[in-house]
């Protein structure tokens, strides 16, 4: 059972696709319910992972490794550690939520829409579960296809442009990654005489510094575009704004995390020397992204593009946290991935709800909604505070840990990044003020109805998570600790050679930061 469960989770949505194909396309309601059923079953199945997951063990769990293309030494190798576990849970959770949110939003070609959602889910789960470079690449690319259709068919006015831009941007990076995968493949063969794309075998392979630099650059480009980091972020506002609500939720909630996950799983462990070389560049780009995203978000007229640019800023935080290479920073970074998925996903859902009613997202069209839709306004406020990172919400824990880690790593970056939090408060609250406070000036807003039961059901789980992680993040942090330390240990391998190359003599022997996760608890319980 334990070695089957990942396969079952990954391909359950495909089973759902087959089920939907059997339903006549006129029966929209049963198509919706079938999709919801399968996403929920997938979610429940992924919950089973938690109970069977051994939190103290290092290394991969639930592994399955059978040959797939023997000719090339490619295996069907799945397995997860706690990092992938959390991201898989996030994926199945958000997909179910997103599916529930679409019941009114999709107006045509229902069958195609739900098939795309389910295929997308399989692609995303595969990316997080794959432990074979080839498999990872296959899932990474497969995911593009349903997303392309989701944006292109059910998107807004500039959907075609956005869809093609999304695909081409992602492809630039991923094709170079393919070349890099092939180079590693032959490097490993040269060293060990075996053809394999197995990540576990390839990790820790001694590669020359220059080779690592090239390979890190090729992988890193693919991931940086996906994250996206400034200056490769330009596809993101288009894709987010034009995508249908469910697409935006999944895009922001899960797809962006794949870039960060790629760094954690592939770049850092496989190319430790290059990691140290690239830390300055990536962390500077991250800081630029934090500030740039926040400033651009401030001047947006469209609520959805405001949220989209806020994502650029938040993803900057996540990348900065990862590049600190200390326990707090990296734990915070992974936790913030989950948080960002929850809070930005919720923001997109909220924007989608108001869009369904008014078919506009312009801030200037609204005003005084607080009196018309009190429940909606409350929900919006909670999510917004979480996105800003107010203590007591999940966003605070993640950002605080990241800033803590960044301070140890480089105080200047930490200070600059902290301004991003201030800016976030500015643009979010200013938007909230313009949309919800004051008098209802636009007559079209006078007939707005408050949230329906379904919409509340969609949001309540997210709100619960916001507070839960905000108040009691310890279980998650404990869960993450062994995996994060494993990644840190893998990177640490490269420090000696990096120091030797640059002639750095360290007074203190290089050590892995082992400060306890307990230290973090007081801030979270505020």
């Amino acid at each position: 059972m334990d070695n089957m469960i990942l396969t079952i989770i990954t391909f359950l949505p495909v089973l759902g696709v087959l089920a939907i194909l059997l339903i006549p396309k006129e029966q929209v309601v049963s198509i919706r319910h079938t999709t919801l059923f399968f996403t929920l079953v997938t979610f429940v199945a992924s919950l089973c992972l938690i109970f069977r997951f051994d939190p103290v063990a290092t290394g991969m769990q639930f592994e399955v490794n059978i040959p797939w293309i023997e000719q090339f030494g490619i295996g069907y190798h799945l397995g997860i550690d706690s990092i992938s576990l959390l991201l898989i849970l996030l994926t199945t959770f958000l997909t179910a939520i997103a599916t529930l949110s679409t019941f009114k939003a999709v107006e045509h070609s229902h069958r195609g829409f739900y098939i795309s959602i389910l295929l997308l889910e399989t692609g995303m789960l595969g990316v997080f579960a794959a432990l074979d470079l080839f498999m990872f690449y296959v899932f990474w690319e497969i995911m593009l296809v349903p997303m392309y259709f989701l944006i292109g068919i059910w998107g807004g006015t500039r959907r075609i442009y956005a869809a093609i831009k999304f695909v081409l941007f992602t492809m630039i990076g991923s094709l170079l990654m393919l070349v890099a995968i092939l180079v590693i493949y032959f490097q490993y063969h040269g060293l060990n005489g075996e053809f394999t794309t197995d990540l576990i075998k390839l990790t820790g392979m001694p590669l020359a510094r220059d080779m690592q630099m090239w390979l890190f650059a090729a992988f890193g480009l693919a991931f940086i575009i996906k994250v996206p980091m400034w200056p490769f972020h330009t596809w993101l506002p288009d894709a987010h704004v034009e995508a249908p609500t469910a697409g935006s939720v999944i895009l922001a909630g899960v797809l962006l995390k794949m870039g960060v996950y790629g760094f954690l799983r592939f770049c850092l462990p496989m190319f430790p020397i290059a990691t140290f070389e690239f830390i300055p560049i990536i962390s500077i780009l991250a800081v630029i992204g934090i500030i740039y995203g926040a400033l651009v978000a401030m001047v947006q007229k469209d609520i959805k593009s405001l949220v989209a640019f806020s994502s650029v800023s938040h993803m900057g935080f996540i990348m900065l946290g990862m590049m600190t290479l200390n326990l707090q920073g990296m734990q915070g970074s992974i936790l913030q991935m989950i948080n960002h998925g929850i809070s930005t996903g919720a923001l997109f859902l909220l924007v989608g709800m108001i869009y369904e009613r008014r078919h506009t997202r312009m801030i200037s069209e609204y005003g005084g909604l607080a009196s018309q839709m009190p429940v909606y306004s409350t929900f919006f406020m909670i999510v917004l505070l979480s996105s800003i990172g107010v203590p007591g919400t999940n966003g605070f824990v993640g950002e605080f840990l990241i800033l803590l880690g960044a301070w140890k790593f480089n105080a200047v970056y930490a200070i600059l990044a902290a301004t991003g939090v201030v800016f976030a408060a500015c643009y979010m609250l200013w938007m909230y003020q313009r949309v919800f406070y004051g008098k209802v000036t636009n007559p079209a807003n006078q007939t707005l109805t408050d949230m329906s039961l379904r919409e509340k059901i969609v949001l309540v789980p997210l709100i619960i998570l916001i507070f839960w992680i905000g108040v009691y993040p310890k279980p998650l942090l404990n869960l993450l600790e062994p995996s994060v330390k494993a990644v840190m240990a893998q990177v640490e391998v490269g420090r000696a050679e990096y120091n030797a190359y640059h002639g750095i003599v360290e007074s203190v022997a290089s050590e892995i930061e082992l400060s306890d996760a307990e230290n973090v608890k007081p801030e979270g319980t505020e």
Binding site: I69, I142, I160, L178, L182, V183
Partner: protein, 484 residues
């Protein structure tokens, strides 16, 4: 006499003979039959028989006709590709020809003869027999291109193809003559053996001869800068014939080039690597960049086929046994998905009469399944996983990287990126855009049974080779090794 029989070994050409018998029947008896579909059935039956003979000969290396014809796994694998192409084109043709009142047996006879020419071509290790095979392949192709003799474009296509083909043949013959002058033989393995001596005495003959042979085949596979004829010829020819053109002769040309250069000119291969490098790069780039600007889907596929010739030339540049296997596997995959793409083009053309990209608008709402298959084939052409196109590219790129051609592979993946843009255009039109005139939605789509079978086979191939490529990869690997 038994000795003579053994030396001739007629079994070795049984696959070709079965096609030729069928074409003979098609030209003599079938015209008397009332049911036109008989000609399709006979053609497909002969393809099946031929495939059976190939299956029986697999792994039995043998020679015949006093060493003029050889039969190894490499040539058998190539023959399978030709037969798939031929069978596919036959299946595509039925609806197309019936619609235009041109369902004549001689059409199928020409296709079978041409296929047998390709098969002769790859199974020989002698330049003269290769040349004869090439001519047997080409002459029916000229006829097929101009099969709609009342159609100006079709006639233009035939004329252009004929003149270009004649040029190519002349280059090739001249090259063969020079090589003969340099080495005193037309047999590939003997050329290889006498290379050392030839290089000391008659270096120029051998090198120039090889270069002229390369030019001759570059015309056939539509490599840069000998690709100019492709768009017009492909666009003007009947669509199923274009499908046939874009796979069959290209596969034959690549296979023979691999054999000639790796076996025959193995001694001077080093001198050609740089030329192959440049040709591969320019062929990919030209095909892809010009394909970007096309609004006619058939013409776009013509340029895309140039680009695919470029990817195949990567294998030629690498020149290892993996590269040969990779090229064979790629051609097999390509024969499925390119044939499938042309099947969709044929259906749309049958229905609307044009191939303009605008006619694809709203296809997904009118005929969802057709649009889904279109998407599958386009994604496969673009090399998206988990389709056959991806595994094919992966194999070729890996062979090239193994041969230290990293920058050429980087160029190739950038080319793939360009190609994604234009392969997505028909999908974009079909799924994202709405047709201008809604009256077309009323037209019911009727597909002949052969067309349905063709789409099923090609889509199973395009997906199956992507998901479970093991078996065919092993066959391709066996074929590549055999040639070394």
């Amino acid at each position: 006499m038994p000795q003579l029989d053994a030396a001739i070994n007629i079994n070795i050409v049984l696959p070709e003979i079965s096609l030729l018998i069928a074409s003979f029947l098609l030209l003599t008896i079938v015209p008397l039959a009332k049911q036109r579909i008989i000609s399709s059935i006979i053609s497909l039956a002969s393809v099946a028989v031929s495939l059976y003979f190939i299956y029986a000969m697999w792994n039995h290396q043998q020679t015949g006709y006093f060493g003029m014809v050889t039969c190894d796994n490499f040539c058998l694998f190539s023959k399978v590709i030709f037969l798939i192409t031929c069978g596919g084109a036959v299946m595509l043709s039925r609806d197309y020809l019936v619609k235009r009142g041109m369902d004549r047996p001689e059409y199928y006879a020409m296709m079978l003869i041409s296929t047998s020419g390709m098969m002769f071509m790859v199974s020989s290790s002698n330049l003269m027999v290769i040349f004869i095979g090439l001519e047997i392949m080409s002459l029916p192709l000229y006829v097929l291109a101009g099969f709609f003799k009342d159609d100006v474009k079709s006639t233009e296509s035939a004329a252009k193809y004929f003149f270009m083909g004649a040029f190519a043949s002349a280059f090739l013959l001249y090259g063969i003559a020079l090589v003969y002058g340099g080495t005193g033989t037309t047999d590939l393995s003997k050329i290889f053996m006498s290379t050392g001596i030839a290089l000391q005495k008659n270096e120029l003959y051998l090198i120039i001869g090889a270069a002229l042979i390369l030019i001759g085949f570059a015309f056939k596979i539509a490599a840069f800068p000998f690709h100019m004829w492709v768009p017009d010829v492909y666009q003007g020819a009947p669509t199923p014939v274009t499908a046939f053109f874009s796979i069959g002769p290209k596969a034959a040309g690549i296979a023979v080039l691999l054999r000639i250069f790796i076996i025959g000119f193995g001694g001077v291969y080093e001198s050609f690597t740089i030329i192959f490098w440049i040709l591969a790069f320019l062929t990919m780039a030209t095909g892809n960049i010009f394909a970007l600007m096309q609004n006619d889907v058939k013409r776009m596929l013509a340029y895309s086929s140039i680009a695919h010739a470029g990817y195949l030339m990567l294998a030629l540049t690498a020149g290892s046994s993996e590269a040969v296997s990779a090229a064979l596997f790629y051609l097999l995959a390509y024969s499925f998905f390119n044939m499938g793409a042309f099947a969709i083009v044929t259906i749309v053309e049958n229905k609307t009469g044009t191939n303009h990209i605008d006619t694809y608008k709203g296809l997904a709402s009118r005929h969802p399944w057709l649009a889904v298959f279109l998407a599958l084939f386009m994604f496969s052409l673009a090399g998206f996983p988990p389709t056959a196109g991806f595994i094919g590219k992966f194999y070729i790129f890996s062979a090239a990287i193994k041969a230290n051609l990293v920058w050429l592979v980087v160029a190739a993946v950038m080319n793939s990126l360009i190609s994604v843009y234009y392969y997505l255009r028909p999908i974009k039109a079909a799924f994202f855009e709405k047709a201008e005139g809604e009256e077309s939605s009323a037209v019911q789509l009727t597909l002949g049974p052969l067309m349905v079978v063709a789409i099923i086979i090609t889509s199973v191939g395009a997906l199956g080779l992507g998901l479970f490529p093991n078996y065919f990869l092993k066959l391709a690997a066996a074929s590549g090794l055999m040639m070394m």
